[in-house]
């Protein structure tokens, strides 16, 4: 049992039809009724008690991927396995039995908590799916509430009586209530201040150590992802262009996009000025992604091959995959 991956994604694709919506393609032509290629063939696995970071710019499909993993939206094609069992085609009722194992924490704790519910009701809600035993629920609510660093006398308060950091603690408590095996964190600290961010990150690390939960940590902040993860996957326009162990991937990126992304992160050291390398141009629209390698129009190393043939992920080093015809540092 233990050698089966917690979660496995096989060529997950999610398209959205944009009927009636209007987009400007790269050449500035208005297009209607097209397909948005939000997630376009993602293969990944998540091991038990580990953290996978997903980084990429806005619009690259990170959040759609997260929602698909939770089966909040059905993949257009591809297969999703949870503990070795395919869950892609399960009925609603069957899925409900698995759902307590998969939880999510959102970016904005001001919109992810119902303002009309008391803290205890917010945390009890997912538990009511699992059990009808009221006493058990009350007990568990109290337990997780204290685990996330809140005091029991605040249980009856409404979300507006808490600060941003405290609200995110409530969201974490709600996610942990059902003792999940996987928690997806979608930009969990982007809405928080620096000092609060550090508190929440520490809490998440404590929880992982104690409960052996796996995290998928989605963020555009690479230094936060590095701190929290074991492996990193880099997404660009619906595809994973590179995936590998955190330190190796960040120190020796193989994909030109990863390299550019890393070098555009400002460092808190004035002596590194002028070292930022920028990527020219804008991310192309996911309605009409470029042919071949999706990064080729912006890539300084692109050749004709890149514009024609799409590179497949290849293992370049131990467990380090890259989808590029001409990987760097090879």
């Amino acid at each position: 049992m233990s050698n089966i991956d917690l979660l496995r994604l096989e060529n997950i694709v999610r398209y959205f039809s944009a009927k009636g919506a209007m987009f400007y393609s790269e050449s500035g032509v208005l297009e209607t009724g097209s397909t948005i290629h939000a997630v376009d063939g993602v293969t990944l696995k998540i091991e038990r008690n580990s953290s996978l970071g997903i980084v990429g710019e806005s619009g690259c499909g990170k959040t759609t991927l997260a929602r698909t993993i939770l089966m909040l939206i059905k993949p257009t094609s591809g297969k999703l396995y949870f503990e070795g069992r395919e869950i892609t085609n399960l009925s609603y009722g069957e899925l409900a039995k698995i759902r307590p194992n998969l939880q999510m924490i959102f970016q904005d704790p001001f919109s992810s908590l119902d303002p009309r519910m008391r803290a205890k009701a917010i945390i009890a809600e997912p538990l009511r799916v699992v059990t009808k035993d009221r006493e058990k629920i009350t007990e568990r609510v109290r337990e997780v509430f204290e685990q996330v660093g809140l005091s029991a006398d605040q249980l009856n308060r409404f979300p507006n009586e808490f600060s941003g950091g405290q609200r995110q603690r409530i969201a974490i408590a709600r996610a942990l209530a059902t003792k999940p095996k996987l928690v997806i964190l979608d930009e969990p600290t982007s809405a928080l201040d620096a000092s609060t961010q550090a508190q929440i990150l520490n809490l998440l690390l404590d929880i992982q150590e104690q409960y052996e939960v796996s995290y998928i940590f989605i963020s555009h902040n690479v230094s936060v992802v590095r701190h929290m993860s074991d492996r990193i996957a880099v997404m660009y326009l619906g595809k994973i262009v590179e995936e590998g162990p955190v330190d190796e991937l960040l120190r020796k990126p193989k994909h030109p996009y990863t390299a550019a992304l890393i070098s555009s992160i400002p460092k808190p050291n004035p002596k590194t000025r002028g070292e930022m390398v920028e990527i020219r141009g804008e991310t192309p629209s996911p309605v009409n992604p470029p042919s071949g390698c999706r990064y080729h129009p912006r890539c300084p190393y692109a050749t004709e091959l890149c514009s024609k043939t799409e590179p497949q992920p290849q293992e370049v080093e131990n467990h380090h995959l890259v989808a590029c015809h001409y990987p760097l540092n090879a």
Binding site: E57, A198, D206, M228, P268
Partner: protein, 331 residues
């Protein structure tokens, strides 16, 4: 001695609301010299934006009320100006860019319309007699769109703000803020809503254009890393007070105030050991209606001394250019 562009002295601003009196700025002193980029950092609610709005004369009054201080800009106190006089300063004297460019641009007018308004006003104020010469205005609009690296400026002019990405809109905002050649530009979190890759582009653009038009900048950000990349001098604010101020290299190498030190160690380090616990500041940012007495940071400070809760420390120079408001350094 370099020329001072703006000198804010002992500025205190309160917001009087039904729920109470919020003290947003408390005896703030800040000077910006010619062609200098001053970074202003602090967590949300520390008064960064209030300071920028006060300089621009854009504080909502009421509830805001300036209770003391002065803002000296080219020889006059801006706080004495009436709305009409202030109007003359905005744009050509001091301009501002905001975090979310979509809300700062008018959705009903094209980019070209909005940029040409700025350019026409500049031409009028500088008595360039061709303010009504549409061809000259248009040529300057195209020129500015080129300078902010927008491809195909001729067709870009005809587009509306919603047709553009966040990065492109921020480029237009920068063009609008600098086209009238102001002496000072206030930038309030201009890259916080952007992706890192776009942020890198915008930071470089701001740096090079500011040098070109010789403007000074007050660059407000909650991100120390961004400030490290762009500022010449950095001021750290907490609960409406400037806690520390120093040249950029100095403040990152030798942060003196306990708050600055904590703020720096709260960010995950690039080279640090993964999954180690980060240093945190206990408690949270104080409510501005109930700022602690004495040093506002004392309830969260690990070096707190007895006098910290009673006497408010003054901003004092400890070495040339390095000022800190903390009793530890008063001896």
């Amino acid at each position: 001695m370099t020329d001072q562009i703006i000198q804010v002295s002992e500025l205190s601003v309160v917001f009087e609301t039904l729920e109470g009196r919020y003290s947003a700025l408390n005896n703030v002193d800040i000077t910006i010299n010619e062609s200098e980029v001053v970074g202003l950092v602090g967590e949300s609610g520390c008064g960064k934006s209030t300071l920028a709005l006060a300089i621009m004369g854009l504080l909502p009054r009421p509830p805001a009320k300036v209770i003391s201080g002065s803002i000296m800009f080219s020889g006059t106190n801006l706080l004495r100006y009436n709305e009409k006089q202030m109007e003359e300063v905005r744009g050509t004297g001091i301009s501002m860019i905001f975090q979310e460019p979509l809300t700062s641009l008018n959705p009903l007018f094209t980019i070209g319309d909005q940029l040409s308004e700025t350019i026409r006003i500049k031409m009028q104020r500088h008595n360039e007699h061709d303010a009504r010469d549409e061809r000259k205005v248009r040529a300057e609009v195209v020129d500015w769109l080129k300078r902010v690296d927008l491809a195909d400026p001729e067709s870009a002019m005809e587009r509306y703000p919603h047709e553009w990405s966040g990065g492109m809109r921020q480029r237009v905002m920068i063009a609008m803020a600098l086209a009238a050649k102001p002496a000072l530009m206030l930038a309030d979190e201009p890259t916080s809503a952007l992706d890192v890759t776009t942020q890198a582009q915008i930071l470089r653009l701001v740096k090079s254009l500011v040098q070109e038009v010789k403007a000074s900048v007050l660059f407000i950000s909650h991100d120390l890393a961004v400030v490290a990349q762009i500022a010449d001098r950095v001021a750290v604010m907490y609960a409406g007070m400037v806690m520390e101020e120093a040249p950029v290299n100095e403040i990152f190498e030798n942060p003196l105030h306990p708050y600055t030190q904590s703020l720096m160690s709260a960010f995950p380090k690039e080279t640090g050991v993964r999954k180690t616990r980060l240093e945190t500041i206990p408690g949270s940012v104080p409510n501005l209606a109930r700022i602690p007495t004495g040093c506002p940071f004392h309830p969260r400070c690990k070096f707190v001394k007895q006098q910290c809760s009673t006497a408010r420390p003054e901003l004092r120079e400890t070495s040339p250019g390095h000022k800190v408001a903390c009793v530890i350094y008063n001896q």
